[in-house]
Amino acid sequence: MSARRPIRNEDASAVLARHRDLFDDSALRRATTLAAPLGILGFTIFAVWWLAIPFSQIGPGLASLGKFIALMFPPSTGGHLNLLLKAMGETLAIALLGTLIATVAAFPISFLAAKSTSPHAAIRFAIRRCLDTIRGVDALIWALVFVGVVGLGPFAGILAIAVSDTGALGKLFSEAIEATEERARESVLASGGTSLLAVRFGLLPQILPIIAGQILYFFESNVRSATIIGIVGAGGIGLQLSEQIRTYDFDQVAFAVMMILVTVAVIDWISSKLRFAIIGRRAVC
């Protein structure tokens, strides 16, 4: 900072000469920087060709989309506000109970799936693959299956969310367990505690804030996904929404979408408050 000397042009060229290699573009370097964009472009062209995207439809499609949007104003309840409110309540109930059941189910499973607490590698492997399979099937497909089991209605939605989230939460919980410090548990064991006490006092305090944050996050995302599973008859506002789109009642679609937006915003706000209360402002990931 002190003794500032004037910058001269010679300095610039000297610096350039010293770091020649940074500015020289070798053929290999140029090829690697070009490869990624070219690959993306090539694959895009292939995809457009393979899917035979009808470009002629885009113009008329946009026009009718504009018509739909014009029909959305002013949003209207269509005279059944009560029905919509009940459906929104169902959506929240599906998200809450689905998340809670998934948590209760995933918690014990995650101990079997975590490297540090699993009784045997074979059990761990089997449970991991099971969780992967459950996760690989979308919640909407689980909803279709459960509609066949318990009939139409929000109960099917609850079970669908519960099952598909058990897969995801089980994986996340077990990763949280694996990321804990072994030392706390070892010290409980060293002072004569049983392995159950070691988990209770050495492990749980470390994972509880992480798990609580993840549960809240899943509740938020489940409120979003519970808005669609109604499309297959599993309760919630999705049923009304899909019916209204199919019958071109776009003023009611706009109202339902606004209800979803407001509800999701409120839920996000509440759960971010709760998250701050649980894990503190700094640790928010």
């Binding site: 929240l92 109930a93 690989g136 318990v150 109960f155 979003r224 999705g238 199919r246």
Partner: protein, 294 residues
Amino acid sequence: MTSSLLSVPQARLEALLADYQREVGRRRRQSLLVLAILAILIVMAGHVGEVDLGNLARHISNFTSYFGRIIPKLTAANFGADVADWYWNLAGWLKLLLDTVLIAYLGTLFGAAGAFMIAFFAAANLAPNNILRWSIKRSFEFCRTVPDLVFALMFVSAFGLGPLAGILAISIHSFGTLGKLFTEAIENIDMKPVEGVRSTGSRFIEMVRFGALPQVMSGFASYTLLRFEINVRSGSVVGMVGAGGIGQDLFVAIRKFYYTDVSAILLMIIVCVAIIDLVTERIRHRLSGQEGGR
């Protein structure tokens, strides 16, 4: 024994113990309160959600027998022919699966491109204009909160059946989620390089190009790859409303009780998602390695 070891006066010890008990009691009361609120919510939600455990218990055999029925009959003696019978439409399904992957690819690409161009105007540390920033943030929120199936339904009505509706629905949803993630990544950058570029009197675009972009590029790529994997999964679902891909066949198979078809298609989707998961994880690890231990 404790007193001989620690030599804490009896009175002091009692005061400490009382404090400890009070603190523990306070926390117990707090968690009891939370549990009570949760219990009330559960009862309310159970009522609204029409939870009927008796119904579940009566029909749970449907659930287990469903999985019994979707598992194909494979015999060791006639294994090859049985598998061929199970996957009787392998060529058709593979083509549809490729459709789904390509729909997800194009949807992710367009969504990511849109989010990339706009995210810099939405980040609090770079945004040139607060009103613009606020409206971009709200539009991201809109795009990711409205379910992609709702967009797909509308686009199917507007553009007709086919992959175009699916691509558009997925790109809009990806635009919303990636926009949020990109914006947050930009807001977390080190501002010194940006200030360095700004001090040379450069314009906004150069500030972004040389100050911000090198810091966020690998993060962007890794978010996009993660999104691609998620989109392959949801791409198999948007087909259900006629927006192209394998979802249509899966939906028909479930609804018409073609049991072994359901397991065949589901297995294909799961394997495909798992492969993409593995590949993108590899690439993401390499990208985060390049970042130099951030």
